[in-house]
Structures are given as C-alpha cells and as structure tokens.
C-alpha cells in the first residue's frame, strides 16, 4: 500500500516536472520577438532552435497519429507518410496563387479532410490484411500515391508547389504546430479512455474475440485509420506553408515515414505519452548527432547501436522507465533499493 502511494506520488511529480519543462520550452521562443527585444529581455532561443522545436511538434503529431493505428489497434502501418503528403499537397493547392488561392487558414483547415477521406477509402480493402502484409500494402500505397502526385501537372509535377512565403512567421508556425501536437495528444487521450479505444485494444489483442463480443471491427479499424490520417494530414498542411515548398521527396519522404514509427516504438507504442517521449529523444539525438560533418557518420552508427540496445533491453519503450516492468525502470530500482535497504 505504502509503495503504491509512493509510486503514484512519484509519477505525479514527474508529470508536473515534465509539464513545467514543456511550458518553459514553449514560452522561451517568445523572447525572440521584437517586443521582448525592446523590453530588454535576453533572447533565449535562436531561429534554428525554433525550427527544431517546430519539427519536434510536427513529429509528435505524426507519431501520435501512427500510434493510434500501429500501437493501439496493432496494425503496423508503414505508409502513414501518404497522409502527410496528401495533407501537404491539399494545403499547397488551396493556397496557391494560380490554383484555388484561398487564405492560409482555409488551406490548413482543408488539409486533414483529403487524407481522412483517402484513408477511409483505401482502409476498407487494406485493413483486411494483417501483419507484414498490411505493413507492405500501406508502404506500397504511400509510394504509389507519391509517384502519382509527381506525375500530375496540376500538382506541380516533379518541380513541386511553392506556397507563398510568410516573412518572420517562425513563431506563428511554431505555435500552429504545437497546437496540432496538443490536439493529437488530446485526441489520443480521449480515444484511449473511450469505448472506441477499448474496442481498438480488443482488436489488437484478439480480433476474432473482439468481433464476437460485438465490436464492429471494420468500422473501428477504418475509424482509427481515418483519425490518424486527419492528424497526420494536418501536420502536412502546416508543414507545406511553413516550408513554403513541397514536392514528392518532401511530402512522401520515406525518412519521415520510418522516423515516426521509430519514435512511437522507441517511446512506447500503445501508450499516450510514449510517442511524445520518443520524438523528443530521437529528434534530440538526430539534431545533435547528424549536423556535425565528419562526426555525423560515427554518430549514425551510434544511433543504430542505440536502437539495437533499446530493442533488446527496453523492449516496451522509454516510457517503461517510469513505473514499468523493465529492469532499468525507476519502479524496479525503487523495489531493489527497498529490498536491500530493509
């Protein structure tokens, strides 16, 4: 009983510390504005750091979206980048001067719709497949959609599309992306606690059994797929106007595709904050390891090694450190200390 209380208190403390850190990190970029400058506040972050924060928020959206399908429902999608690309292209076409020429807000609002519709359409046949076959079918879909987009002139062909550049809008895009990230986490949290979420978990654990006890498996799976698509598409839409350039390589990047999965699994698939943690850790590693010339290749080797070590020793993700069953977790450490101390 005592130990349980302690566990709860520790977890709450950790959550508060984590929340405070997030708030601080989110407020710090405000010191980069002219107003802060005129008040004489020191500038705490520079433009490249704002860019990294925006990227982190973007991957939080994508990893959380993937987590709904791959983590919660147990359908390991390998093609979620298709939704990112479709969202990005939807937004880019919407705001393009020579195409729909809508305001930016409308473009971003439209961005989740097309991927969600697409997911509902292709989800019906694709979600009948399982395991490796589902993984590869989704990967094939992503590559095929990307290739088609590259060959359609209305979508800019191989050159891509150039949404108008907004000057000095770093902070606007940072907070847009952070808003999307919060939306993704909140939506995931609501789903996790709902009848819908329990249905998805039931499908993951045993699809036949779930269907027998009255879960409409097709509707649930397609629903989760569409929600993930809408979230990922939203991130894509914001990315298109933020980057003010989108082409097939960027929109349907296989790097993004793999990264969002890695982040979700590294952090802890099927949990609420696992993907967020995974994004922070992996993005931190990538940013610090990747950009240093000659060291970069050695760093990549280190990253590969880290992945291997994680998979072998912390198989349920980093989130397992906090109160999980891993031998490296805080809970295990506490138990061990108590046993030796008493």
């Amino acid at each position: 009983m005592q130990a349980r209380l302690n566990g709860g208190r520790l977890r709450r403390l950790l959550l508060i510390v984590f929340g405070l850190a997030v708030v601080l990190v989110l407020l710090a970029p405000l010191t980069a504005t002219d107003q802060a400058d005129s008040l004489g506040l020191p500038q705490l972050v520079d433009r490249s750091q704002i860019r990294i924060l925006t990227t982190v928020a973007m991957f939080v959206v994508m990893a959380s979206g993937w987590n709904l399908v791959g983590g919660l429902t147990g359908y390991g999608s390998f093609g979620n980048v298709a939704f990112f690309g479709l969202g990005a292209y939807t937004c880019a076409v919407a705001v393009d001067v020579h195409r729909l020429h809508l305001p930016m807000g409308a473009g971003i609002a439209l961005a989740p719709l097309v991927p969600a519709l697409f997911a509902a359409l292709v989800g019906l046949p694709l979600l009948r497949l399982r395991g490796h076959y589902f993984a590869i079918a989704t990967l094939g879909t992503a590559v095929a959609v990307g290739e088609v987009v590259k060959n359609v002139d209305y979508l800019g062909g191989a050159t891509g599309l150039f949404p108008p550049i907004l000057h000095r809008a770093d902070l606007l895009f940072l907070y847009l992306m952070v808003g999307a990230a919060m939306l993704a986490v909140i939506v995931s949290g609501l789903i996790l606690r709902s009848r819908f979420g329990y249905g998805l978990i039931a499908i993951r654990e045993n699809e036949e059994a779930a269907s027998v006890i009255g879960v409409n498996t097709t509707a649930y799976k397609v629903g989760a797929f569409a929600v993930a698509a809408a979230l990922t598409g939203l991130a894509g839409g914001i990315f298109a106007v933020w980057n003010s350039f989108i082409n097939q390589d960027l929109g349907f990047s296989l790097d993004f595709n793999i990264q969002m999965i890695l982040m979700a699994v590294l952090g802890g698939a099927g949990t609420l904050f696992g993907p967020v943690l995974g994004v922070i850790v992996l993005e931190f590693l990538l940013q610090n390891l990747a950009g240093r010339g000659d060291v970069a290749v050695y760093a990549q080797i280190g990253l590969g090694l880290l992945l291997a070590v994680t998979v072998i020793f912390v198989p349920r993700g980093i989130v397992d450190f906090f109160g999980g069953a891993s031998r490296l977790s805080l809970a295990h450490l506490r138990r061990a200390l108590r046993e030796t101390g008493a």
Partner: protein, 290 residues
C-alpha cells in the same frame, strides 16, 4: 514489335537482378519471420567487396562472387547469432527496429570506409553485347541473369535436398516441434540468415557490374525485395523467381509501352500493382493460402 521485344528482354534481364536481391530477403522473412530492413545494406556491402577486389586485386567481378558469398555468409552468421537471435520471438516491430538499426550501422560504416563517391566495376567486356533479330542483349546483364538463376537453383537445392535445408524448413513450420526432435534453433536461425546474407552479397556483386554504387544505394533494393516477395508469394524459391521476373517486366513495360506514361511512372506502376496483388491475392501469384 521490335521495341516490344527489346523491352521484354530488358525487363527479364533486370528481373534477374531482382530475383537475386529478393532470394535472401524471402528466406529470412519466410523462415525467421523477420522483415530485414538491412537487406539492401548487405547487398551494397557485397557490391563494395566486389569493387574492392576488382579495383585493388584486379579480380574479375564474376570470379569474386564466391569470395563475396563466403564473406557475407560469415558476417550474416555472426550478426544473427550475436544480435538478431535476441529478439527472434519478439513482435514484428522489434525486429523491424533492430534491423533498421543494423542498416544504419552498416551504411555508415561503409561511408566511413569508402566515402560517398560513386564507384563502378567496369571489366573490359562491360558495355558490349550481341544482337539477335535487332534485339540488343548486353553481356553483363545476361551473365547476371545466369548467375541469378544458378543462385536460385542452389538455394532451392539447399532447402529441399539437404539435411540442413530440412532443419531450416522444420524450424519455419514449427519451432517447438523442431527443437523437440533435436534441431539447434539458434544455429539454424544463424545459418538461415547467413545463407540470406550470402545471396545478398552475390546480388550486390552483380549490381556492381551494371550500376555505379554508393553506400546509400541499398535502400531501393530493400523496397524492391519487398515487392518481389509479395508479388511471388512467401516461402518458396520458385515463387521468388516468378515475382522477380514479373516485377522486372511490369516495371520496364509499364513505363515504355503504356501510352501517356513515361519513365517517371515506373514506381507508381510497380507499387500500385503491389497493392492490388495484396488485396486481391494476399498469398501472392504463386503462394499457397496461409
């Protein structure tokens, strides 16, 4: 008509390369139930070994294939024994994650060793060929197809005609039953992966003769191996051969023969085909129902 024949020949020739690349991938997937994301990296490692032997010791690329196969066999055995065996019973995504990590390590080790310059293996006969009824056949590609066929036959023989092959197939059918009758699981896993790595190395050797290589050139081959295995069906050598040849044909014919489509559509066609096959016939063109 002549153009059509030429494209059919080119498609089959490139299909041979796809067969060689996909053989090992299919073996690891079918027997160990691992989708090996490092497969393309192993292919390129084989290509670099071939280049090394060619550039520094002037060994003909086709003669160095056995050396490459042995080297990759040893590497594959060690890799499986030390690393991948530890997560062999873990769910799908752990093995994916682990092989992705291995991929990163191999690709970047190659970058350290060889830099990112383009390398190519150009023996005196590369670029020449012969013509039959106006259809051009390059020697190198024809030889590559021949080697791929021999490789497929060798793997088929190993799996179906030897004691080791029986052990491998027994493990694929039922791990626990295989262990009960005295099969050393860890050894058989490692052996399977080693054979797959050797196949990948040979495929890499072939690839080094027909295209310039860089350490990062392997990723497309992992993807193509995926497609070939799914097209043909999992677990049988014959299915992989059919899958590779069909994939080569469809890719080549699709971009030259269908009006309105150009070279840019090759991948779109290939992957659309993949998705259709998966949805309509998940067991592949040649596979049995699971």
């Amino acid at each position: 008509m002549q153009l059509f024949l030429q494209q059919v020949v080119l498609g089959l020739l490139i299909g041979g390369i796809y067969v060689a690349v996909a053989l090992g991938f299919s073996l690891v997937w079918g027997i160990l139930n691992i989708v090996n994301l490092a497969h393309g990296a192993l292919v390129i490692a084989g290509a670099y070994l071939t280049w090394l032997l060619f550039a520094h010791a002037h060994v003909d690329p086709f003669l160095s294939l056995p050396i490459v196969a042995v080297a990759l066999f040893a590497f594959g055995y060690a890799l499986q024994r030390v690393l991948i065996n530890r997560v062999i019973r873990a769910p799908l995504f752990f093995t994916l994650l682990l092989t992705f990590g291995v991929n990163l390590m191999i690709v970047n080790a190659l970058l350290v060793l060889f830099k990112s310059d383009f390398r190519s293996v150009t023996p005196s006969y590369s670029g020449s060929g012969f013509g039959v009824a106006g259809v051009q056949v390059p020697y190198v590609r024809l030889a590559a197809l021949g080697v791929a066929a021999a490789l497929a036959a060798a793997v088929g023989w190993l799996l179906n005609r030897t004691r080791t092959g029986s052990a491998i197939q027994a493990v694929a059918a039922d791990r626990d039953a295989a262990r009960l009758v005295g099969v050393d699981l860890r050894h058989v896993y490692a052996l399977t992966f080693a054979v797959a790595a050797a196949c990948a190395g040979v495929a890499g050797g072939l690839i080094s003769t027909i295209q310039a290589i860089t350490p990062t050139a392997g990723e497309p081959y992992t993807l193509q191996a995926f497609v070939v295995v799914v097209l043909g069906g999992l677990g049988r050598v014959g299915a992989t051969v059919v899958g590779g040849l069909v994939f080569g044909l469809v890719e080549t014919l699709g971009q030259t023969m269908v009006p309105g489509l150009g070279a840019g559509w090759a991948n779109a066609i290939a992957f659309a085909l993949l998705v259709v096959v998966l949805v309509v016939r998940p067991q592949g063109l040649m596979g049995r129902r699971p």
